[in-house]
């Protein structure tokens, strides 16, 4: 094995660019290790542990880029290729191009901005957010790894200043019709969403769009906002903002079930909004006593339907042909061997995974999940499936040093092959999240692996059923129809909603029929 190390002094690249290039180059050349990092103290230690020369690294700082390669191929051109990729791949400064400002303050001299989107490494996000808030700007923190203390401090600061601080994590929003970070291109309309869940917000907005409704605003407040520590500060601010927003006629709140104290606070805040509200606590208890202007639901699909009903939209004509899908499911199940009993859901979207888990629980038993709330359902080793299993591949343990699977679905490919070799596996569920921020062709990068997966199963005389859900709209840049028809052409059963996908998979393994 050969170890190559190169420091590019004073060249900063964002981690998304670097991770994307690492993945690409590693896939192309088959090196044992391709790592491209900014030389932070932590990253330098990691490189030294991998056996790279510490003397070469000691002078490098967080503004210096380091390329480390371990490969059997004594070919130093690889390093040059990587240099070209990272310089050309990201939209870095090019010759003959005017420069971008370096700080928020200097950017304000160029643009009268109202919002700052922050996707720096988490350790730096709080500082930038504070600089933005103190200058009267709203903030969307896409970064993860922001401490709870920082989140609370910043949210209180934002509240005091009457500003919105969206995120951290679950970075998604649609503001005045513009999709920010991970968001789908949906029709504008009168339904306002506020969510502590990224893909939950995306799925509800997509379903509303497909059923003929539209979105006024969608505010993602971050996955931890309804925790005891944060206490729903921004959920309440978001609800208030939607209450005041003239374009919003119906409000949908989306979250995992919060702590009881926080729930009480949130429900109290709903009273004064003067607009109908749909509360969706995914996989929560069904709260009774619905008033006329308040409905509780526990699924994303239910949230979309309830919101449309408040809006007075008749969706009966849009309901798809259940029977057609049930027949397809039955056909799939007939191709299976008796040993093939289990569902394996491999999800990019965390909330999509949670919704599927909840809906499957009622149909098949037992269900396991790497991010299950209930201890009894927790998958012991997230790297190895067993039984009916739902895996959130966007969970931190899968994304250390790798892009989120919505940005780069490659993270899921190896797992697909593992599941395909398991004789007990009957059906895979795959979600494909389209929209801004997501991969340009998530289905396209997955299909070759699906072909191989089916060959692996076929070698042992098995058929592998695949159910997919494409969370996207006809307006999304990836093209909803195009993605779906590619899947259909490969014999993948393409569901009409995330909930529907779970339902179909259950039917294939004999649950719910």
């Amino acid at each position: 094995m050969y170890l190559y190390l190169k420091v590019l002094p004073n060249e900063y690249f964002d981690s998304v660019t670097l991770m994307a290039v690492s993945a690409k180059v590693k896939a192309e050349v088959g090196a044992q290790l391709v790592t491209i990092l900014m030389a932070t103290t932590m990253n330098k230690t990691m490189l030294e542990e991998r056996g790279f020369d510490s003397t070469e690294l000691c002078g490098a700082s967080a503004n210096d880029c380091v390329i480390g390669v371990i490969t059997a191929d004594p070919s130093p051109q690889l390093i040059e290729q990587i240099e070209r990729e990272i310089r050309g791949g990201g939209q870095q400064e090019k010759k003959g191009q005017a420069i971008n400002p370096a700080t928020i303050s200097s950017a304000l001299r160029q643009i009268d901005a109202s919002l700052v989107i922050i996707s720096t490494p988490g350790e730096y996000a709080a500082r930038e957010a504070e600089l933005a808030l103190t200058q009267g700007l709203n903030v969307l923190i896409f970064s993860d790894n922001v401490s709870v203390q920082d989140e609370k401090r910043l949210k209180l600061l934002a509240k005091e200043k009457g500003l919105l601080l969206m995120g951290p994590d679950c970075g998604t929003a649609i503001i005045n019709g513009s999709g920010l970070c991970f968001a789908n291109n949906v029709r504008r309309g009168s339904i306002g969403l506020v969510a502590a869940s990224g893909t939950g917000l995306q799925e509800v907005s997509v379903l509303i769009h497909r059923l003929g409704g539209g979105i006024s605003q969608a505010i993602g407040v971050g996955g931890r906002d309804l925790s005891l520590d944060i206490g729903g500060i921004m959920m309440i601010e978001g609800l208030r903002a939607l209450g005041e927003d003239e374009a919003t006629k119906v409000i949908v709140l989306i979250s995992k079930p919060p702590a009881p104290e926080v729930q009480a606070k949130i429900l109290a805040a709903l009273v004064h909004l003067g607009k109908p509200v749909v509360v969706c606590f995914i996989d929560g208890e069904i709260l009774g006593g619905s008033e006329q202007r308040l409905r509780f639901v526990t699924t994303l699909e239910g949230a979309a339907m309830a919101a449309l009903a408040y809006g007075g939209l008749d969706v009966s004509s849009k309901v798809f042909d259940q029977k057609f899908f049930d027949t397809r499911a039955l056909e799939e199940s007939r191709k299976l061997m008796p040993s093939q009993r289990f569902i394996r859901g491999l999800y990019c979207g965390g909330t999509l995974c949670a919704e599927a888990l909840m809906l499957s629980r009622a149909r098949v038993q037992p269900v396991l999940c790497n991010v299950a709330k209930r201890d009894s359902e927790r998958l012991a080793n997230p790297m190895a499936s067993s039984g009916h299993c739902f895996v959130d591949l966007g969970d931190d343990m899968f994304t250390q040093g790798r892009p989120h699977p919505m940005i780069d679905p490659n993270i899921r490919l190896e797992r697909i092959l593992e599941e395909a070799s398991d004789p007990e596996v009957a059906v895979l569920i795959l979600d494909f999240v389209l929209g801004y921020g997501s991969h340009a062709d998530p289905v396209g990068v997955t299909l070759p692996t699906l072909r191989i997966a089916r060959e692996i199963a076929a070698q042992s005389g098995r058929y592998l059923a695949v159910v997919a859900y494409v969370c996207g709209t006809d307006l999304d840049k990836q093209g909803y129809e195009a993605q779906c028809s590619k899947l259909e052409a490969h014999g993948v059963l393409t569901a009409r909603s995330n909930a529907h996908a779970a339902e179909l998979a259950c039917k294939i393994v004999g649950g719910g029929i």
């Binding site: 004073n10 900063y12 964002d14 981690s15 998304v16 660019t17 900014m38 932070t40 700082s61 967080a62 503004n63 990201g90 939209q91 400064e93 010759k95 003959g96 005017a98 420069i99 971008n100 400002p101 370096a102 700080t103 928020i104 950017a107 304000l108 643009i111 009268d112 901005a113 109202s114 919002l115 700052v116 989107i117 922050i118 996707s119 720096t120 490494p121 730096y124 500082r127 930038e128 933005a132 009267g136 700007l137 709203n138 896409f142 970064s143 200043k161 500003l163 503001i175 005045n176 513009s178 999709g179 920010l180 605003q217 903002a241 939607l242 927003d245 374009a247 940005i407 801004y436 921020g437």
Partner: protein, 468 residues
């Protein structure tokens, strides 16, 4: 600062982080600016904490910095005469030699500086030859001090000894003076460490043949406004550090008549004018003391975080900030650029000279957008030259309306390097400079770009935080 309402208003966005999101904003036609973001303070968490502490004093620091720039902008710079250093530089006693950069011991001095000091010892008659000069210098027989501590500046080795004539510039507003020697030209010259008989002979001619004529001419002219020449030269392709062709011509135009009106013999007057004409860098030794003089006015404002001196001695780079008299130093860097034929980068000495005072004042590398010919030294494009100038605004507190860049729609040059902004952004001042041969007496081997070490700014910031 007012609150920006988000919903229902025109959405305008600053994107900090991954360019993917910027691409999507472009796709949707949302007005946005993408930041060229880097980890603050080069990712040093302790230093980020220091920045946060200083943020709490942001209002006081800002008003102190405003005051520094007010003083700098109201300073004037008039060239009044050319006098022997010992007559005008206060406290320049015998057996004292001034040098470029922060303080440095003989043992640590770069080759060119040692050579120039030996030359000066012989020139002053304090030593008979090279060997005696070396033993005097090494044994503490002569006192060394930075030019900057005497209101003076010197290019490259920057050596000033008492008999050398110096340009005398005056700031009438603040009553300050600044001094700089007469530029000897290119090739074998003292400032690059050459000390041959030819070099010393030229210095003697400058002292006895040149200076008296120019001094009388300046008196006849009633002085010459150096700032005015810089302002015009910036519109003619100079940045007044590494390129002084236009400024030199303008100066010659001003001084020609007065020189002819002096009562010296015609041949001597011709020789004086010929000397100025033949030296592309004559004006460097005027732009430098002009910058020194104006920045001197801004020095000494408590709590200010702006840089008033950047200087190098070939061993270390040193800076001073307005609110402190301490030098903050770090190892001098090597210059990146173009070498003259026959030299390799192993021949070059580290960064040397007081000429970075021009960048401190917002010209030189900071005004490269007005002097695109300079980027040829680093193989860059005209846009690169403009970008260097734009980039320097990121680390400066304000702008200098006196100096503008036509190619940037007459945007004023950046002014007042703020150590807080340098540390925060990791953007270092860009300096256009010449490259000296590491051995004494060889001369210039190339030219290019260089930056100060980050350490200077880091140390200055920590000290400022302690005092605030």
């Amino acid at each position: 600062m007012g609150r920006h309402k988000l919903l229902g208003q025109t959405l305008k966005i600053i994107n900090v982080g991954t360019p993917t999101f910027t691409a999507d904003l472009r796709l949707q036609g949302v007005p946005h600016v993408h930041l060229d973001w880097r980890p603050p303070a080069e990712g040093d968490a302790e230093l980020v904490a220091v920045l946060a502490r200083l943020m709490e004093h942001r209002a006081e620091i800002k008003s102190a910095n405003d005051e520094v720039l007010r003083r700098v902008k109201t300073a004037t710079g008039r060239l009044l005469g050319v006098k022997p250093a010992r007559e005008v530089i206060l406290g320049l006693s015998d057996m004292t030699i001034l040098h470029a950069g922060p303080p440095v011991d003989w043992a640590d001095m770069a080759g060119p500086m040692r050579g120039a000091i030996m030359g000066a010892l012989v020139y002053e008659g304090w030593a008979k030859g090279k060997d005696e000069a070396q033993s005097i210098a090494a044994s503490g027989g002569v006192r060394f001090a930075p030019c900057h501590e005497y209101g003076a500046v010197g290019p490259m080795a920057g050596i000033i000894s008492p008999s050398m004539p110096v340009h005398v510039l005056c700031d009438y507003t603040h009553g300050n003076y600044a001094y700089c020697t007469v530029n000897e030209g290119l090739g074998k010259v003292l400032r690059y460490g050459a000390y041959s008989a030819e070099v010393l002979g030229r210095l003697k001619w400058i002292e006895q043949g040149f200076a008296p004529v120019l001094d009388q001419a300046l008196a006849l002219a009633g002085g010459i406004d150096v700032g005015g020449i810089i302002a015009q030269a910036l519109h003619m392709g100079d940045e007044c550090h590494n390129r002084n062709k236009a400024a030199g011509s303008l100066f010659l135009r001003e001084i020609m008549g007065p020189v002819l009106r002096t009562d010296f013999p015609l041949e001597q007057k011709q020789a004086v004018l010929e000397f100025i004409k033949a030296n592309d860098h004559y004006f460097l030794n005027l732009s430098m003391p002009y910058c020194k003089l104006t920045l001197q006015a801004g020095h000494g404002v408590p709590k200010a975080s702006l840089v008033t001196i950047m200087a190098r001695n070939g061993f270390e780079f040193g800076i001073k900030i307005s609110s402190s008299d301490q030098w903050f130093t770090g190892p001098a860097n090597y210059i990146t650029g173009l070498l003259f034929p026959g030299y390799s980068k192993d021949d070059a000495a580290p960064d040397i000279g007081d000429s970075a005072i021009t960048e401190t004042m917002g010209i030189g590398g900071f005004a490269m957008g007005g002097a695109p010919a300079i980027v040829k030294f680093v193989g860059g494009s005209v846009q690169d030259a403009l970008n260097y100038s734009l980039r320097m605004h990121e680390i400066c507190h304000g702008e200098n309306a006196a100096f503008t860049i036509p190619a940037l729609d007459f945007k004023p040059t950046p002014l007042g390097i703020d150590i807080i902004k340098v540390v925060e952004t990791g953007i270092l001042p860009i300096i256009n400079t010449g490259m000296a041969h590491k051995e004494p007496g060889v001369g210039q081997v190339g030219a290019g770009l260089v930056s100060p070490p980050f350490k200077c700014f880091k140390d200055a910031l920590v000290a400022l935080a302690q005092d605030t």
